[in-house]
C-alpha cells in the first residue's frame, strides 16, 4: 500500500515525531511505499540541522535523514509553517533577507498542496501530532 505521513509536532517535546518514525520504518520494512512525509505546524522543527541532542539520547533529525536516504523518502516541510517558526533553506533565507539557513539535507521546503496531493495519491494518510 501507499502511505502519506503527516507530522504536526516538533522533536523531543511531543512523541509524535518518534511514533511517526517508527511507524514509517515498520511500513517500509513490510514493503509498503511511503508517498511522502509532510511536516506541518511545529513538525517543521524536525528539519533543522542545528539540533544537537545529548549524547545518550536519540538524534531525531538525523534519524529521519538516514531513513530518507535509505528509502529515498520525499520529506516535505510546509513553507508557511516553516516561515512562522524560523526554518529556512538557502533559497528561503535569501528571499527573506536572512544571513543564515538551517534546513537539514534530505528535507525540502514546499507548499501545502503537497499535503493535499499526499492525501489524494496515498491509500492511507496517517497523522501524528498532539
Amino acid at each position: 500500500m501507499k502511505f502519506g505521513i503527516m507530522i504536526n509536532e516538533g522533536p523531543y517535546t511531543h512523541q509524535a515525531s518518534d511514533t511517526a518514525y517508527h511507524f514509517t520504518k515498520a511500513a517500509l520494512e513490510k514493503g509498503h511505499e511511503i508517498f511522502r512525509v509532510f511536516f506541518y505546524h511545529d513538525g517543521v522543527n524536525n528539519s533543522t540541522r542545528l539540533t544537537t541532542p545529548p549524547q545518550d539520547d536519540r538524534h531525531i533529525v538525523n534519524r529521519w535523514s538516514a531513513l530518507a536516504e535509505k528509502y529515498k523518502l520525499d520529506m516535505v516541510v510546509c513553507v508557511a509553517a516553516a516561515q512562522r517558526r524560523g526554518i529556512a533553506d538557502a533559497d528561503e533565507a535569501k528571499r527573506n533577507g536572512k544571513d543564515a539557513d538551517n534546513l537539514a539535507p534530505t528535507f525540502r521546503i514546499s507548499g501545502l498542496g503537497q499535503l493535499i496531493e499526499a492525501g489524494i495519491q496515498s491509500d492511507r494518510l496517517v497523522v501524528f501530532g498532539d
Binding site: 500500500m1 502511505f3 504536526n8 512523541q15 509524535a16 511514533t19 517508527h22 511507524f23 520504518k25 515498520a26 511500513a27 520494512e29 513490510k30 509498503h32 491509500d123 492511507r124 494518510l125 496517517v126 497523522v127 501524528f128 501530532g129 498532539d130
Partner: protein, 100 residues
C-alpha cells in the same frame, strides 16, 4: 470502517471521550503514546472502555506500554500490537483518524 487513534491520556484530555462518542459500531480504536493509559484495567476510566469494547475492537501499542511500565495492566480483550501490527491495522481499516 475507521481506525481511530487516541494518543492522549484519558485522565487529562477529553479526546478518548470524544472519539468514543463518534466511533461507529465495529470500528477500531488504537491507543498509542500517553493514550495507552486508557487501555489499563482498574482505573477510573476502565468502565467506559469496557463498555465501548462491547461493539468496538480495541488495540494498544506494545512499546508505549513498556516504556511507561504498564504492560502488565492491560484490560483483557484489548489486543497488544507492535509497530508492524500498527501498520497492519491501518491497512485493514479503510481510513485512519487521529484524535489529536
Amino acid at each position: 470502517m475507521l481506525l481511530h487513534i487516541v494518543n492522549k491520556s484519558p485522565f487529562i484530555n477529553n479526546s478518548l471521550e470524544s472519539c468514543l462518542r463518534a466511533a461507529k459500531k465495529n470500528s477500531g480504536v488504537l491507543f498509542i503514546e500517553d493514550g495507552v493509559y486508557g487501555a489499563l484495567d482498574n482505573t477510573a476510566i476502565t468502565p467506559q472502555v469496557k463498555k465501548a469494547m462491547k461493539d468496538k475492537k480495541f488495540f494498544v501499542l506494545a512499546s508505549d506500554l513498556k516504556a511507561r511500565g504498564v504492560s502488565d495492566g492491560v484490560i483483557k480483550g484489548i489486543e497488544v500490537v507492535d509497530y508492524g501490527g500498527f501498520v497492519d491495522l491501518t491497512t485493514q481499516y479503510d481510513v485512519v483518524e487521529s484524535w489529536l
